[in-house]
Symmetry: C2
Amino acid sequence: MKKALAIDVGGTKIYSTIVTENGEITGDVEKHQTPKTFIEIQKLFKDIINRYENEVDVIAFATCGAVNNTNDGILGSTGNIASEYPTMVFKSLSKKPVFVENDANAAAWAEHVIGSSKGMPYSIMLTLGTGVGGGIILENKLYKGKYGAAGEMHFKMRTDKHRKCTCGSWDCFEAYASGTGLKKTAEEISGDSKITTYDVINQKDRPIMKKIIETWQNDILEGIIGLANIFDPDCIVLSGSMAEFVDIEYIEAEANKQIVTTPFKVVKASAGNYSGMIGAALLALSSQT
Amino acid sequence: MKKALAIDVGGTKIYSTIVTENGEITGDVEKHQTPKTFIEIQKLFKDIINRYENEVDVIAFATCGAVNNTNDGILGSTGNIASEYPTMVFKSLSKKPVFVENDANAAAWAEHVIGSSKGMPYSIMLTLGTGVGGGIILENKLYKGKYGAAGEMHFKMRTDKHRKCTCGSWDCFEAYASGTGLKKTAEEISGDSKITTYDVINQKDRPIMKKIIETWQNDILEGIIGLANIFDPDCIVLSGSMAEFVDIEYIEAEANKQIVTTPFKVVKASAGNYSGMIGAALLALSSQT
């Protein structure tokens, strides 16, 4: 059975493991702190690859940042370390083929192949964490757009420049639907600048916390309605650490009442915490055949 | 050369003409009032078809309403007359093949084949008229979604239920970017419920009208930024009667400053007033080969 060495490159942690062509993780998942410099990251990648490249058919990276359509480099700057990686660096890391995909795209692919959106040709995954990641599957293929940057969930929730987004623009879906967005919403509603998402979740039966969660969840709902009207998808998959605080049944019922397109499902991701590595591995292995 | 009889079915007017496989209109364009009843419309369709079906290879409808993926019927109800048409009616209208597509989708296809987005694999057309139509071209194909309803530009511009949309929901792009949206924005800014889009355009150098147009245009810009971040397209095409009041150069420059994806163009449509018929004809003719 074919295998990939999968490496997930995040802003704070780097994970690695071996994934089979069936999407199964074999053996341990290694966890490393993301080093601060380009040189150290490269050294870590080489160390991981040297230990495993003889066992696998391909090296698969799931990384933050938009990845190009040739899956060998990162497009432009996204403010994180991976964006400093020129195309040639990835290729030169191993004697085996090296394949790179955006982490949210990779995770969406894992859901499509082995998870909640399996068997559905049209799905959109929203990863609700510190930020919001997006992955779009259309006609059973990962949709990347003209250069590979598609699926950025930076569409506007309001137009009066109310809340700054990490992307430099204002009021993007990410700035409301993310964990950071929940904290901001909590600050605005409570007037307390020190309130945390932990406070909100832990005291979720208090009326004010209820209102905060409802407001945050309504923003997620409104974004999902827009995506369903644009794409007419089979389903929208919610993943990430914040997804567990969303009332999926409510969102599905309410969104389906408001869309002008055709009925769709809202589901939670089921491919697990390592779906980014699994998806990147599956994409990498299928790109070799 | 192959030809189609093209029929454009709008809420108030029905047009018909002959279109060649090169996208050229040959002969006159007939214009009819849209009859009020199903029976009268059917009679008008049959009359047009009887006169021309022997000259053409296919009958091509461009219609309001979402059209299914088999291009022979309309999905669900959209509040206009065409939605009452069951699948079998279209098929039985002629001895020649009958092909149906949504008017905005058809117009987007015409731009892709003979107009402003020619040669670009990824484009989104926004038709700014009384409402807003949308057509999405991805990888040189018309994108329709799971049942054919995709491309509805009903994503939210705010989340506080401020302005009702024709779709029944609140604050959709259509409710702000359309001509109707411009009137609403003018009412809100001027406090005058009788103000018309004609007043705004005609007195556009007055400071208050300037502010109204800038606000309306900013809503269009914000919507375009979202679409560019979601799709990473080659271009966004603006068409429809309201498009001429949009400062395309400004929108393109400003949107490109704010997106996190890769640079894209904003262009005006160039396939003309009958692009719906042209696009439907081109799609219909290519579906026969």
